[in-house]
């Protein structure tokens, strides 16, 4: 038997937009049950790297492997079926539907019932139960009947995480899950992510700016800079690197190195 593949791997992954190389030959592999933080200044290509893995963008060259199988040319729903779950940086939900319906739709997709034309949706009790179970987990069950557009921002972020939990993918990708949340809401989200990691043996990729969040969650940090992977390792080692110090701890970067101002964590 061949040696076991890492659950997710990117090989020399590259995308060009015209002359601009947004992600530049990134090779990294992710082990089952690990939580990797992906950091870097704004415009470093973190979200683009995510989009290449989950399929919203198609790579110019290189490969994405899931359990050793190339998924580089697959569509977004195919990748979702195979076990890649993605939450988005900007809240990206079904705004006119209820909170419960948002989660129910995910459970329905997972149960592959979307093309069932002649049963009443509400009669699939197991999907409703699944939705309520997840909503209880993210503490949104009291708001299950509300329309998503009417939810406060923090609750929308929670729902974003709820959709990912309901999807139950092998690989979970969070893009700044705590962005724009109030201080007292952040721990709720972090607990959920921590729980996902410990309970369910999932592989988690996390784009995050807040260093304290990264320190408390990550097993490993990858640093992207101008689309290229510049550092990869244990959190303590990576945080000590000069490039990270520049981007996160306020040291002035050399003008030639970054076009945009680095984000202050």
């Amino acid at each position: 038997m061949a040696k076991e593949h890492p659950i997710l791997e990117t090989q020399d992954l590259t995308i060009r937009f015209g002359g601009h190389v947004a992600v530049d030959g990134v090779s990294a592999s992710f082990e089952r049950g690990s939580l990797t933080a992906i950091v870097g200044p704004n415009g470093a290509g973190k979200t683009t790297y995510f989009n290449l893995i989950s399929g919203q963008l198609s790579a110019t060259s290189g490969a994405v492997l899931l359990n050793g199988e190339a998924i580089t040319r697959m569509s977004v729903p195919e990748r979702t079926d195979r076990g890649i779950g993605r939450a988005f940086q900007l809240t990206n939900l079904f705004p006119t539907l209820s909170v419960r319906e948002n989660v129910r739709l995910v459970a329905q997709a997972k149960a592959r019932k979307g093309f069932d034309l002649f049963s009443v949706a509400e009669s699939h009790v197991e999907l409703l139960e699944r939705a309520d179970h997840v909503l209880a987990e993210v503490r949104l069950i009291d708001k299950a009947e509300q329309t998503v557009a009417a939810l406060p921002h923090g609750d929308q972020r929670k729902l974003e995480v709820a959709l990912l939990i309901a999807l139950g993918s092998q690989v979970l990708m969070f893009d700044e899950p705590t962005a724009g949340m109030s201080v007292d809401e952040v721990p709720v989200i972090l607990d959920l992510i921590r729980k996902l990691k410990s309970d369910m043996d999932r592989t988690i990729l996390l784009v995050e700016h807040k260093m304290d969040v990264i320190r408390s969650l990550a097993d490993r940090i990858i640093v992207l800079h101008n689309g290229a992977l510049v550092a990869d390792g244990e959190p303590a080692d990576v945080i000590a690197l000069p490039v990270v110090q520049e981007a996160y701890l306020g040291k002035v970067p050399e003008p030639s190195e970054t076009a945009e101002a680095p984000e202050v964590a």
Partner: protein
């Protein structure tokens, strides 16, 4: 039982329930409640348009797809039945296979259009559909050896569905029980069944997914739904329902021509009926179609009465002169869209909460 029949999608508003019941009872007993040829024609037209408008709502209100080619599918159904009846004579076999062929052709067209053009942006899709529909209308009017061109087709339908056929000699409640009455009830019951089927579809897991695709296609993909297939299937279902409505019209009128099925005016009427009734609520199709067709049919008469009654008042009587009925119909639409932006059903349901 009733909830089951409505697929759990009850009107959820007292007033709406009352209005829908009035429409249902009026249509169910139309031949007895409103005797006369004209009112029966109106009632049948309402039944057929409820199906047609609901099928358009399936596309526009549920799947969020803007198409201006709905009359094409309506026409395909009508011409399917018409051609079968005019070429092979007035038999039930011809009626059934013509209708089935119309539905199949509509489905194939919808599949092709869906796969080719649903990937493009909504506005381009709408334009492509407009072009296809216009080309189809021209095509039908040019193929006069087959379709009768602008004159359309006149044909016979099975005798049991014509006024010449008498089921019983006595009148019931003063109404002749003849083939026309049977034809009306054929239209009524088939329309009712098709409406209930669509109500089931929009409340099925598939219908719910359509709403998700309408709300956020990008996210629907990211949770595993293949959006193009959902949109294509919705287009096909909507096209088949429109074609069946067209077949009903062909049977009812015993005539099929471009003006009754393919014209752009009908497309605009459908659009207005959906918007007035309320998008994304099939019940909106019922109220929209009923009100619109009643206004279209009786506003002129009503205004004639008003003009006569007010002939002493100079300006007012000119304003309500019967030939100005289109102006007033337009005013009614503007007012209804202004005051009920979410349609009558949307307004009634919101009012309850």
């Amino acid at each position: 039982m009733l909830t089951r029949l409505l697929s759990g999608d009850t009107p959820r508003s007292g007033l709406l329930t009352a209005l829908l019941l009035i429409v249902l009872i009026s249509l169910a007993f139309a031949p007895f409640l409103f005797p006369g040829i004209r009112s029966l024609e109106t009632a049948a037209r309402i039944c057929i348009f409820i199906v047609l408008v609901a099928s358009y709502d399936l596309l526009l209100g549920y799947a969020g797809i803007v198409s201006f080619a709905h009359t094409m599918f309506f026409g395909i159904g009508a011409y399917g039945t018409a051609l079968a009846l005019s070429t092979t004579g007035p038999g039930y076999g011809a009626l059934i296979w013509g209708t089935a062929a119309g539905a199949v052709v509509a489905a194939v067209f919808a599949l092709a259009i869906g796969l080719f053009s649903l990937r493009v942006k909504a506005i381009f899709f709408a334009m492509v559909m407009l072009a296809v529909a216009s080309a189809f209308a021209v095509f039908v009017s040019q193929m006069s050896w087959l379709t009768g061109g602008e004159d359309g087709l006149n044909y016979k339908i099975p005798r049991e569905l014509t006024p010449a056929f008498k089921l019983i000699d006595e009148k019931i409640l003063g109404v002749r029980v003849n083939g026309k009455l049977l034809a009306y009830y054929l239209v009524f019951f088939v329309s009712a069944i098709l409406f209930l089927v669509m109500l089931r579809i929009v409340n099925s897991p598939f219908g719910r997914t359509l709403k998700a695709v309408r709300d956020n296609a990008f996210r629907a993909e990211a949770i595993g739904y293949r959006v193009v297939w959902y949109r294509t299937t919705a287009t096909i279902l909507s096209a088949v329902m429109a074609a069946l409505a067209g077949s009903l019209l062909a049977i009812w009128l015993r005539y099929t021509g471009p003006a009754t099925t393919l014209s752009m005016e009908i497309m605009i009427d459908i659009l207005l009926m959906v918007v007035i009734g309320g998008m994304g609520t099939l019940y909106g199709a019922v109220l929209g179609a009923t009100l619109f067709i009643l206004a279209q049919t009786y506003l002129q008469t009503l205004m004639g009465v008003a003009a006569d009654a007010t002939s002493a008042v100079p300006l007012f009587s000119t304003l309500v002169a019967p030939e100005r009925w289109l102006l007033w119909l337009g005013v009614l639409f503007i007012l209804s869209v202004y005051f009920f932006p979410s349609g009558i059903v949307g307004r009634l349901r919101a009012g309850r909460a």
